[in-house]
Symmetry: none
Subunit: 216 residues, 4 copies
């Protein structure tokens, strides 16, 4: 079942020179911010660089966000919304715990791979938020963890997931593995690399084989 959420880059329209462009650059700003920030990290990314890539003066960017931190927040917020929605969609399937967990991993992993850059920011840059925004993002992370945690516990209780390992360690193992998918070999254009489907399949297989009851 295909997941419908999409966050790909807006199509790069040609600038036709004549009139000063008035289109909405909101998506473009976010996209370029994601690209630079995921490559260099939030702190090492300058507003100047984003502006250069968008093709406006740096002051102009402040029409699209009120501060660099708010820009980061919006990127993270969108990731949270997407993954939350996936979580809800999987929940609606009403599967038994282990199948539920594996489907959750599968779809979330697909999203992470399709949105590698955004996901990277989601996982690594929360510490650059402050105050209210930081608290909220931390809360989101906890929700994400709780979703997995609850499924692991349920699987242990109905005997489908091994219970010789503490639920919290298993949860962290699963989330950590998903976090790292972005670094699994997949440079497109390289000779023999892997498609997102192959990576997801491998990850789900490995996780399933390690947590299934009776593994030990």
């Amino acid at each position: 079942m295909a997941v419908s959420i999409q966050s790909e880059k807006a199509p790069p329209e040609e600038k036709n020179g004549k009139t000063r462009e008035r289109r909405n650059r909101n998506d473009s700003v976010i996209d370029e911010a994601i690209a630079v920030m995921s490559e260099k990290g939030y702190a090492a990314t300058s507003i100047q660089e984003i502006a250069d890539r968008v093709g406006v003066l740096k002051g102009s960017l402040y029409h699209y966000f009120s501060s660099k931190e708010e820009l980061l927040f919006r990127i993270i917020e969108k990731s949270h919304q997407d993954t939350s929605r996936i979580s809800a969609e999987v929940g609606a399937l009403d599967l038994p715990p282990l199948e539920h967990l594996l489907e959750h991993i599968r779809r979330t992993s697909e999203w992470f791979l399709r949105n590698r850059e955004r996901a990277h920011i989601y996982f690594t840059e929360v510490r650059n938020l402050s105050g209210e925004r930081h608290a909220e993002a931390i809360q989101w992370g906890r929700m994400f963890e709780t979703d997995v945690s609850a499924l692991v516990t349920a699987g242990q209780e109905n005997g489908t997931i091994r219970d010789d390992l503490d639920q919290r360690l298993v949860t962290r193992y699963i989330i950590g593995t998903m976090n790292n998918l972005r670094s699994w070999p997949s440079r497109p254009g390289s000779k023999k690399q892997f498609g997102n489907d192959q990576i997801v399949d491998a990850a789900v297989t490995l996780i399933a084989d390690s947590i299934r009851a009776g593994s030990d």
Copy 2:
């Protein structure tokens, strides 16, 4: 079998003499740099902040390193040296591939957990190096990967490691899991958290159960 490599923060010995003091100060600079950088990230860490924690004016830090980047390099270099040594020590045991790999994972993971902050920097801040230093650190990372990769391949060849999954994916899975150990639940002082040994045991168990031949 205990691993002898130690990189913990220098014990806060009382200043009992010039020599000791000087020695401590040098270590202290590195230690505080590691502490701040692992918390805030390299780019968001200011020399001022390190100086404040060391208890010295920021100009004075330049007696201990020649640039912020060189400081980062030294931190990463030391991590490389430690993990390389571990790799060599395990190699000297002359174990069969799977056992060799698991022992490698075990000891390296122990080091990562004992040196959480330094390891975090090692894994995330290489992109802040430039030129020669960047190239060298990239090379070290490749060496680290190659060590694991070779063992996986050997294990697949002698039939002890599953070969239905590409060697590169399995390698990335293993390394990724090790990378993430620092975030496994372990706040010391908290009531029911986990010691480093428990975490390592769990990680090795999970990895072993997922990559062993015959899992599928």
Copy 3:
């Protein structure tokens, strides 16, 4: 004797038609500008803030004035016109110097109190004008001073105002006292504060008692 000049904020009439609306908006811009500028000062007031209060986007404000400085100039100009008119009206009464001066103080003070915010700007923000506008406003201030100064001199010459103090010092004393009336205690709604009439009476009494010939 009631003074007829009125510069109070336009009453918040309901928008009952195009014409009325347009008229209101124009006044509203001035009124809000006066409110913000008197509170924060001209330099610390942003066009954005005025626009927010008017309920219009900042670009739209430029339909009502051509520059921030021109807006300030108009505010000051109106103050000058009002006080000039008062000065002329009092002159038309044809009173002897001391009585003339006191009536001038009385009516001008009433205007200052009724237009506290505008008067504040009139007295403190002239330095933010430049070029021609600055010169003109300075000239207005000089005219204001000259009006008082001439009356003081005349009073000294006919023996009704003390002449042991230089006319210029007395003039500055009078003007300075009027300038400060806006800070005399008068928060409306507070229990025992003072009405504008009481403040004016007190000020005129104090000034009269201090400058009358025979005081020493």
Copy 4:
């Protein structure tokens, strides 16, 4: 009795070119800040302009203060300290209320005239402070007012100050007059202007004649 407090500008040492100057520019920074801010107002004063006058790059100024607002605070704080000290010195003379008040006015006025620029900032720029600093400065202003207010009340009670006018209005009148002394005609170099002593004498005479009991 002469007041000993002095805040004049530091002597302008010649820069003798040879070595980069390492002297303490703290006073110089404050002095130039006072000069520019009193002329243009806090908000219209740029750090750049102060730096230009001090002769350093603008970034270097941040060795002397941590923010523009803190710089303003320090200027205002010093004014408060000076005027507080004067108030205490006069209090120690143990004079009857009216004499006490007039001596207070005399000495404080002298300070205002000798420190025209600083006093101007003290009276007009408090609104540019924020948070804790703003609260503290407001408190200082209230203390200043309370000092005068208490003397007026005491004078009314022992019958030496007129009591037909409310104590609060008289207090504001006095403070307002002192505030305005800086604009009394005194440009040095101009032909027939006035020395500080003459201005203070005139002000004390005018105030005394207006508030003394029996004036009416």
